[in-house]
């Protein structure tokens, strides 16, 4: 750990959509949750992230996707580096089918949320692994 701290986006009601998604067993089975946790912990300890585990999204400046494959499901955790140094904020969890995000507007949602967090740091909280 130490290189990066993960944060979660908070919506206007102060709820945490990242944690809600991760705790929803119908969307993220427990084994997939373990894999996501392990990959996030690995990235937290890695200064330079490289493909295929993480990559910048073309056409969506600032947005980074973290790629987790479990069984035949491709999870995509969209986020950005910030709001301060050595922080990475998870903005929106999505899936990928073929070359398409599910939902398709996931990158746009992530970009809107990024702007919100950049303007108001209280709209993010520390990510937890439980």
């Amino acid at each position: 750990m130490d290189e990066w701290t993960f944060l979660d986006y908070l919506d206007e009601r102060n709820t945490n959509p990242i944690q809600e998604w991760l705790r929803d067993r119908t969307r993220v089975p427990v084994k997939a949750k373990a894999k996501i946790d392990r990959i996030l912990l690995q990235l937290a300890g890695t200064r330079l992230w490289v493909r295929p585990l993480a990559s910048n999204l073309d056409n969506h400046p600032g947005i980074v996707e973290i790629r987790v494959r479990w069984m035949n499901t491709q999870y995509r955790l969209l986020g950005f580096r910030g709001p301060t140094e050595r922080q990475f904020t998870l903005l929106f969890p999505a899936l990928e089918h073929g070359d398409q995000f599910d939902p398709q507007n996931a990158p746009e949602i992530a970009q809107r949320r990024m702007a919100i967090v950049q303007n108001d740091w209280s709209r993010a909280c520390e990510h937890r692994y439980r």
Partner: protein, 223 residues
């Protein structure tokens, strides 16, 4: 987030059997992927260079470093990679506390391992210090001290000293009015002599009444 908080979170999740079984799997395979990359970067090698050393294609190295890859490395593959890096491979069952430690202590530097040749001087130094400790322990016993066991001595040893072919001398005496054992190690000098220099200080338990000291002396090296 600090490591303790992350570990506490994982511990809560691990109370569910299915999660901890899954974390075990991810810790093994994800950990191997990350460590292969860390070892390769530590040596400033490309995937192709590592592939040549391990007699594997670059594409296979790429897969080995990818925790999302469908193909998982076999034990035989890991042994080949270990040989290419000239490091050991330790496969053993461990308590879950170890799984939690390794899951949360993921800093890339902590994954780096020296090759045998790079590690060799440190291995020899550690063995030399251990031999010196045993000699000091035995000398202490023969001098009438009741140091209970070697591990008591270990706690006090200064391990930063470099030593080569050490000989330890422990004699009765006093040193600065303290109740101590001073460990001296022999350092080879030009012209084949050894100079004994103090490298470790063992503070005896308060109950001990005797103190031991070795003065500096020179011996012919190799005789």
């Amino acid at each position: 987030m600090n490591t303790v908080t992350a570990k506490q979170d994982l511990l809560e999740s691990c109370k569910e059997r299915e999660y901890r079984d899954a974390l075990n799997v991810e810790n093994v395979y994800g950990g191997i992927c990350a460590q292969i990359r860390a070892l390769r970067e530590q040596r400033e090698m490309s995937q192709a260079q590592l592939g040549r050393k391990a007699n594997m294609a670059q594409e296979r190295i790429s897969i080995l470093e990818d925790p999302n890859a469908e193909t998982k490395p076999t034990l035989n593959t890991m042994l080949r990679i270990a040989s290419a890096f000239d490091v050991g491979l330790d496969v053993r069952f461990v308590p879950f506390s170890t799984v939690l430690d390794r899951s949360t202590n993921t800093n890339q530097r902590s994954l780096e391992v020296e090759s045998f040749d790079d590690e060799l001087p440190a291995i020899e130094k550690d063995l030399a210090v251990e031999r010196a400790l045993i000699a000091a322990h035995e000398a202490g016993l023969s001098a009438g001290l009741s140091v209970s066991n070697l591990s008591d001595i270990y706690d006090y040893v200064f391990r930063g000293a470099t030593a080569y072919s050490p000989k330890t001398k422990v004699q009765k005496g006093t040193w600065a009015g303290q109740q101590n054992i001073m460990i001296h190690e022999a350092r080879p000098q030009p012209k084949g002599t050894l100079v004994f220099e103090p490298t470790g200080l063992i503070k005896l338990p308060a109950k001990e009444e005797k103190a031991l000291y070795t003065g500096e002396e020179q011996l012919n090296y190799g005789t």
